[in-house]
Amino acid sequence: MRLSRRRLLQASGAVAATGLVPSRFAIGQSAKVRVGLLLPYSGTYAALGHNITDSMKLAFAAAGNKLGGREIELVQVDSEADPAKAPANTNKLIVGEKVDFITGPVHSGVAMAMVKIAREEGTIAIVSNAGANAVTREMCGPNVFRTSFSNWQVCQPMGAEMARRNLKRVVSVTWNYAAGKEMIGAFREGFEKAGGTVVKEILVPFPNVEFQANLTEVAALKPDAVYAFFAGAGAVKFVKDYADSGLKARIPLYGAGFLTDGTLRAQGAAAEGVLTTLHYADSLDTPQNRSFREAFKKATTRDADVYAVQGYDTAQLLIQAMDKVKGDTKAGKALIAAMEAVQFDSPRGRWTFSKSHNPVQDIYLREVRNGDNAVIGIAQKAVADPAKGCGIA
């Protein structure tokens, strides 16, 4: 189904009214469809968790708060983005709350636990952010879907793009953790295939944000460009330090989209001219995106971002697939087939699932202009993750 702009705007009023009280102890009827949200509502990633949650509520409200004719009950658990607590939290949702679907999380370490337990228990899992490649590769399964991206997917297209721009020698910088390594690895794959050389991979201990030593190293290496991945406060700090150190004027900065997403206001002028790739951009000039952003703003008074879009698409997946099976959460194969067949007409553009249940989507090339991620082209159309090691692909 497609959402009209008007229905979305009506829904946004409803979300604002219901507010944000986690409803884990809400009295449920067996007839309700229980959707679990394993997202960070406290700690460093709380902003991401809230945006995903609110856009899901927005989409559900627009659909009359029903899935295939049945009432929806959201069950939220604060993941605290803590992998140590992830197994217990997942268990709480799947076994304790007996949710029909589990969605989330933000953190890849949490995703590993969520997907593993969901596979063992047979609950349908929809990963709405974490980009760990393994989710739709080694750990993939019929009941595991992802509406966000794989780390490989968003970074690999930049390799060819930079080679096209005649950049030969590149230094990469990221945190020494799994997501960072996967993103840099994907970029490197694309870049070297197109003939470029990564002269040095700099890994900064996570979550250290003291970059001066590394920037001095970059200056000494004199590469043609720098490719970086950081997120949140690390991204703000890195981009500002990079500009302050005077490197930006001589060595252009490229990166994964998260480097400049949700951080531009804090980065200010330092981010101007930074080029990134991502499966979304705030400024995408499509009717779907405009009406979504307007509705989100109205509902939450905050600006939508890529995380909100992913939450929105997660809700769309549930709405459309459940419509098809008429709300029968026990439909098993039919339900999964319905989910696989969903055609997304998303704020990020049209996309579908690959065989490994990862989005096949366009990756945009964006440049920061006047404090905004302006879309200057599509780095690669319909990118599909290679899904190495996935049994169902």
Partner: protein, 290 residues
């Protein structure tokens, strides 16, 4: 590494060390004199940074924000000492750890309720926003040099207070032997309150000064907490001199660790701490009671 790069890395390390010193100085005083392990110390750092962000946005001037926020931070430190910490002097370290951990949770949640979950930058006045060229490629932000200068000023100021005033004498005596201060008939309650709020204000100042560099974000207090404990312990609890040396050591070890041992960079500072403590079990300048 060529000499120029080495010199710049040295500068980077020293500069990082200065920032660490500012946080560690307050911690080591509270530790040494009050005998309190204050896990909530990082919260003052965070609160300082958020005050800087909030007041800069209100007043439009970063320096003015500093001037306004500093007394507020000191007052907050006083309140925390008076209404929470002061119950713990007779208790063992474990209770202090637990109570101040509870404070961290509360401060973090209050921060989120008041200021939300977003990352915010703090703009600098134009006069401080420039850079100095170091090499043809790299330049150095003026503001970082200003921060280093301020740190030196604070360090010298502390040195002057501690070595020339009566209060300083009491503090020195207290840091090397807590019982003695009590025996000397000094108003311990007042001394503790002064030291705690001064320590909190110093740490908040560190947070404010680093806000334009690091930006402000939820959870920033914990990121600085562990590393400043490392600094204090390396230097020896209660020793300002030790905190200074420890901060420099950690600043340099972190900087050169990243360059020379990139694969073990995360371990370097902890390895350094372990090595120092095995060599000198009470830190470099550790005095009496721990």
């Amino acid at each position: 590494m060529d000499p120029a790069a080495f010199a710049i890395q040295l500068l980077n390390g020293v500069q990082y060390g200065f920032l660490l010193f500012l946080v560690a100085a307050g911690l080591t005083l509270i530790f040494g004199i009050l005998g309190v392990i204050n896990l909530a110390h990082g919260s003052f750092y965070m609160i300082g940074a958020y005050f800087a962000y909030w007041l800069t946005a209100r007043t439009g001037s970063f320096p003015l924000a500093l001037v306004l926020a500093l007394p507020v931070a000191a007052l907050l430190g006083w309140a925390v000492e008076r209404f929470a910490i002061s119950f713990l002097y007779a208790r063992d370290h474990l209770h202090q750890v637990l109570l101040t951990y509870g404070l961290i949770l509360i401060f973090n949640e209050l921060q989120r309720i008041v200021w939300g979950n977003d990352v915010h930058g703090v703009p600098l006045p134009d006069a401080l926003a420039g850079t100095l060229a170091l090499t043809e490629l790299q330049s150095y932000p003026v503001y970082r040099l200003v921060v280093s200068g301020l740190c030196v000023a604070v360090a010298l100021g502390m040195y002057a207070v501690i070595h020339t005033t009566r209060l300083g004498m009491t503090i020195r005596a207290g840091a090397s032997n807590r019982e003695m201060v009590q025996l000397l008939g000094i108003d311990v309650k007042r001394l503790f309150a002064i030291v705690f709020s001064a320590g909190a204000a110093l740490t908040a100042l560190a947070g404010m000064l680093s806000a334009p560099i690091n930006s402000v974000y939820p959870g920033m207090g914990e990121s600085i907490l562990i590393i400043s404990f490392v600094v204090v312990v390396i230097g020896g609890i209660g020793s300002i001199k030790g905190a200074f040396l420890g901060a420099m050591l950690i600043g340099l070890a972190d900087t050169f660790g990243k360059v020379l041992l990139p694969d073990q960079a995360g371990m370097v500072v902890y390895g350094l701490m372990a090595a120092v403590l095995l060599w000198r079990p009470r830190g470099l300048f550790g005095a009496g009671s721990a």
